[in-house]
């Protein structure tokens, strides 16, 4: 099952390799990982999407917690905590005479944006849940995607509380 986990870590040199080394060394699956400093620059926040059976997920959570640099681990999926989720994708898609209008229509429907234009292509900015990004990618695929980059999702718990009080 897919799990989305936030890890708050000391913003120290090498923390990213501690995480990636943990996942590769123990054979845990990692679907996406995004990382950046938080409001408090001494803490960085990672959002990891991973999958596995219940026992593996329990190990992933415990192993993440075990790292000395880990301050907090929040597994939104197993805690059943409601959360909001967004991912950003940039998509360079074929846009020649016969498809330009079609692409524009799709962008409008998905509330995306065109952020770069050439006679042969549009580059789109698409933000939303990973499912929504998947959907636009599938629709654009037959038209011809030249290049695609996705950030992987970032998430926050719903409600008024921040992670420190959660």
């Amino acid at each position: 099952m897919k799990h989305t986990i936030s890890v708050l870590m000391e913003n120290e040199f090498g923390v990213l390799s501690r995480i990636s080394g943990l996942f590769s060394g123990r054979g845990f699956n990692i679907q996406s990982l995004s990382v950046a400093p938080t409001l408090d620059p001494s803490i960085s926040r990672m959002t990891i999407v991973t999958s596995g059976d219940e026992q593996i997920l329990e190990q992933i959570n415990k192993q993440l917690n075990k790292l000395i640099d880990t301050i907090k681990v929040i597994d939104y999926t197993s805690e059943g905590q409601p959360f909001v989720e967004r991912e950003l994708a940039l998509i360079k898609v074929n846009a020649e005479d016969n498809t330009r209008a079609e692409v524009m229509r799709i962008v409008d429907i998905f509330r995306g944006k065109v952020i770069d234009v050439t006679p042969k292509s549009y580059t789109l900015e698409m933000m939303g849940t990973p499912e929504k990004v998947n959907a636009i990618v599938e629709i654009l695929r037959p038209i011809g995607i030249k290049e695609l980059v996705r950030t992987g999702p970032v998430v926050l718990g719903r409600g008024a509380k921040g992670w420190k009080s959660a």
Binding site: E10, G14, K62, N65, I68
Partner: protein, 564 residues
């Protein structure tokens, strides 16, 4: 103070009296300051791997943090096996490596190796110190992390320019690590549940692991076992945590465990796991491991719990703390306890039956020395508090089976990594910690040659380690597998070249004995113990003796092969 002076000052503050290390370009400043230091004894093994194993042996024998130093590049990479060994067995240790000056890091500079990167998966934590102002704090944290919670090795990589740079020295009083707060205190409600489960059990087995040694909980363990009169089986890492001559002792369980320990576990209705991690050498096939038992698992590290087996009652905490609470809880009701002890009588009888039908044994011989016989004689002739180290192989398993350990921290062996070459330097470290006690390295002819250069260190520092080589001219453990599972195809396991170990000892200025008759065993051991300084006793043993009984790989504990 300079960085290197701060390092030595921190050692002092941490109560470090002995360090094991090897000099080189990037630690030359540290060595210069060490020369002026009177508080710290430095021992120079002949290989950085041995320095780390020696620090490990020192740590296992004393319970203190072991300290090793190595230079950058090859010195640092030579420490890897030692660090990995300590990591797998949860041994508290701080390893200081020199590093090229910070401006050169990343340039493929002379003798540069990314040791923080290389050791990341085999350390509890590691640091690269970039600023001398951070040094005291980092060292404080390093020692704290190494010895607290589930112990483990910590590497501190110290660039040369940081050693030379100066700053004011202030040793922090407290460690502030917001991400690291090991749980020591066991949850009392869980403990109460455990007590209830124990009172209801009719076939309980206490399964003890290295955590009992690491938390020095041997007294509590003895109390608990006697209180409920339940049998105690120990992993390789815990053989010395419970007196092996005790009537409740079942010896080791697992692949080369006793028949009766494995049968007891298989038939138990409650497995009380204390500081053990359900290693695959212990469980055999998981599906048939203690199939009818409820499992209580006490461990300080949550990742150990439910990693390999299902658990009915997890208790996270320090074993000593949990056992104290458990003993107290159980002790409240004396009459119930008495009843329990009576209820368990049939179970103890069943186990006694297995003990009688399948005792731990071997065929004695008049013409050949049996390795098991040497080990029995060693126990008989050594002090109760003698410290025994081993290498890895058949001799290691025979030691676990036949050397009846009596006191905690007297058995030092590489279990998790299974490192040949561990025993001799570990004995060196233990002897450095306890110059007056008997220290014995029980070795194989193969393993001995992996760190035999340490004979020099023993002689130089007058460390009177007694080395026993059970020479079968084989990489015996592997040969045994080839015999049993590969139709006796002894591929590359015969050590053809006969080595004159007596002469080898003498070449280093140590004493050597070499014997091949059973009648000479006792006398040789006595002579060796009476000899000042390090001694090699070579026993030419029965060559194709096998370690029995055994659970073949992939089989269950109830499918033991009893003899070959």
């Amino acid at each position: 103070m300079t960085g290197s002076q701060i390092l030595l000052e921190c050692f002092k503050q941490e109560g470090v009296d002995t360090v094991f290390g090897y000099p080189g370009g990037t630690v030359i400043n540290i060595y210069d300051d060490l020369m002026k230091s009177e508080d710290i004894q430095h021992i120079l093994p002949r290989h950085e791997q041995a320095a780390v194993h020696a620090a490990d042996g020192y740590a296992r024998a004393t319970g203190k943090v072991g300290v090793a130093i190595a230079t950058s590049g090859p010195g640092a990479t030579n420490t890897i096996t030692g660090i990995g060994t300590a990591y797998m067995d949860s041994i508290p240790m701080v390893v200081i490596t020199g590093q090229v000056p910070t401006p050169l890091i990343g340039n493929d500079a002379f003798q540069e190796a990314d040791i923080v990167g290389i050791t990341r998966p085999i350390t509890k934590h590691n640091y690269l110190v970039k600023d001398v102002k951070d040094l005291a704090r980092i060292l404080k944290q390093a020692f704290y992390i190494a010895r607290t919670g589930r112990p483990g090795p910590v590497v501190v990589d110290l660039p040369k320019d940081v050693q030379i740079a100066e700053t004011d020295f202030e040793y922090p009083e407290k460690v502030e690590l917001r991400g690291y707060k090991p749980t020591y205190s066991g949850n009392v409600r869980q403990v109460a549940k455990a007590a209830k489960m124990i009172m209801q059990a009719r076939k309980p087995v206490i399964y003890v692991g290295g955590g009992a040694t690491l938390s020095d909980a041997d007294k509590e363990l003895l109390k608990l076992a006697e209180m409920i009169q339940a049998p105690v089986t120990t992993t390789l890492m815990a053989m010395a945590a419970f007196p092996q001559t005790h009537p409740l002792a079942l010896g080791m369980l697992g692949m080369h465990g006793t028949y009766y320990a494995n049968m007891a576990v298989t038939n138990s209705d409650l497995l009380i796991s204390l500081g053990a991690r359900f290693d695959d050498r212990v469980t055999g096939k998981i599906a048939t491991f203690a199939p009818d038992a409820k499992i209580i698992h006490v461990d300080i590290d949550p990742t150990s719990i439910k990693k390999n087996v299902r658990v009915d009652l997890p208790i996270v905490g320090d074993l000593k703390d949990v056992m104290k609470k458990l003993v107290k809880e159980l002790g409240e009701n004396k009459s119930e306890l008495k009843k329990l002890s009576k209820e368990l009588a049939p179970w103890r009888e069943e186990i006694d039956g297995w003990k009688k039908s399948h005792p731990l044994t071997y065929k004695q011989s008049k013409s050949e020395i049996k390795p098991q016989f040497v080990i029995e004689k060693l126990r008989e002739l050594s002090d109760d508090d003698a410290i025994v180290t081993t290498e890895v192989g058949q001799h290691q398993m025979w030691t676990a089976q036949f050397f009846k350990f009596l006191q905690p921290r007297t058995f030092l062996s590489s279990g998790g990594l299974g490192t040949m070459g561990y025993g001799l330097p570990a004995a060196l470290g233990a002897q450095a910690a306890f110059p007056k006690r008997q220290v014995i390295d029980i070795s194989g002819d193969g393993s001995f040659q992996m760190n035999s250069q340490e004979l020099a260190t023993l002689v130089q520092y007058r460390l009177p380690v007694k080395i026993v080589i059970l020479n079968n001219n084989f990489l015996g453990m592997v040969r045994q597998w080839q015999q049993l599972f590969f139709d006796k195809r002894y591929s590359q396991t015969c050590l053809e070249l006969p080595i004159d170990f007596k002469k080898l000892a003498e070449a280093y200025g140590a004493t050597g004995f070499s014997v091949s008759k059973p009648g000479e065993v006792e006398e040789t051991i006595k002579k060796a113990f009476a000899t000042d300084g390090p001694v090699i006793m070579e026993f030419k043993v029965s060559r194709e003796e096998n370690v029995m009984p055994m659970v073949p790989a992939g089989a269950g504990l109830n499918e033991m092969v009893l003899a070959s």
